[in-house]
């Protein structure tokens, strides 16, 4: 990839990671939702830079919808952090280190990318044609989850 793409990649990755940190650490709902929206923007631009424009658009829509859905979660008092929570936070750092090590040590096939920049048609053919069962499963899961939102508000 050329220099412009690489620079755009680093800029959008920084936006996505900054938004994720904000979403993870924010104590107020508004800040958390703002962090998630920033992550949605950064991840969508990142995917667009990786020649996955349509996937980036879908990820943006889904993350924005997710920010709206999570914003309706009930307010619960935050329990005081215990030793277990601190250990879990440390283990997430260990997981990150392990993933980076695996990525660094991995052997990857390097290939020329023959696809386009947006890929809406090709991705649609792939999802509806070859991976139809996975798409149906994802759609069914989304439908069940949407129904659970109503169930959670006291519906039957």
């Amino acid at each position: 990839m050329d220099t412009v793409h690489t620079a755009a990649f680093y800029a959008t990755a920084a936006i996505a990671i900054a938004g994720a940190l904000l979403a993870a650490l924010a104590r107020s709902r508004a800040l958390g939702a703002g962090g998630l929206l920033l992550t949605a923007l950064g991840a969508a631009l990142l995917l667009a830079d990786l020649s996955a424009g349509f996937a980036g658009l879908l990820v943006f829509i889904v993350l924005v919808a997710g920010a709206g859905v999570v914003g309706t979660a009930p307010r619960g008092a935050e329990a005081a952090s215990s030793r277990g929570h601190n250990l879990a936070a440390l283990l997430s750092a260990v997981l990150f280190a392990a993933l980076v090590y695996a990525a660094y040590r991995g052997l990857y096939h390097s290939a020329q990318y023959p696809g386009g920049q947006f890929n809406a048609g090709a991705l649609g053919r792939l999802l509806v044609g070859r991976d139809a069962l996975a798409v149906i499963a994802a759609g069914a899961a989304t439908l069940v989850a949407a129904r659970s939102l109503d169930w959670g508000r006291g519906g039957r």
Partner: protein, 89 residues
């Protein structure tokens, strides 16, 4: 740019999502972590698809990214429903 950079960016988003889910005990913050994990997996899959996929199948990673992010939305919505049901009783 190699495939390493998208994988590291995806791993960072995924690990931050794990951190939010494991460390925070507030429902909204916890559920935001699930969405962050989905976004991280999507970035890693799309990066592998762009920079290290076989030439005859360059879009599988992008398809996987879309399905994973929809799955994370479904999980987060299910979590909101369960939390809301628990507090409404």
């Amino acid at each position: 740019m190699t495939v390493l950079q998208p994988l590291v960016a995806g791993a960072a988003l995924f690990a931050i999502g794990i951190f939010a889910t494991a460390y925070r005990r507030q429902p909204a913050a916890l559920l935001r972590g699930i969405l962050l994990m989905g976004a991280g997996a999507a970035v890693a899959a799309a990066g592998a698809s762009r920079l290290a996929s076989a030439s005859f199948d360059p879009l599988s990673g992008q398809g996987f990214a879309v399905i994973v992010v929809f799955g994370s939305l479904a999980l987060a919505a299910l979590g909101v429903g369960v939390f809301a049901r628990g507090t409404s009783r």
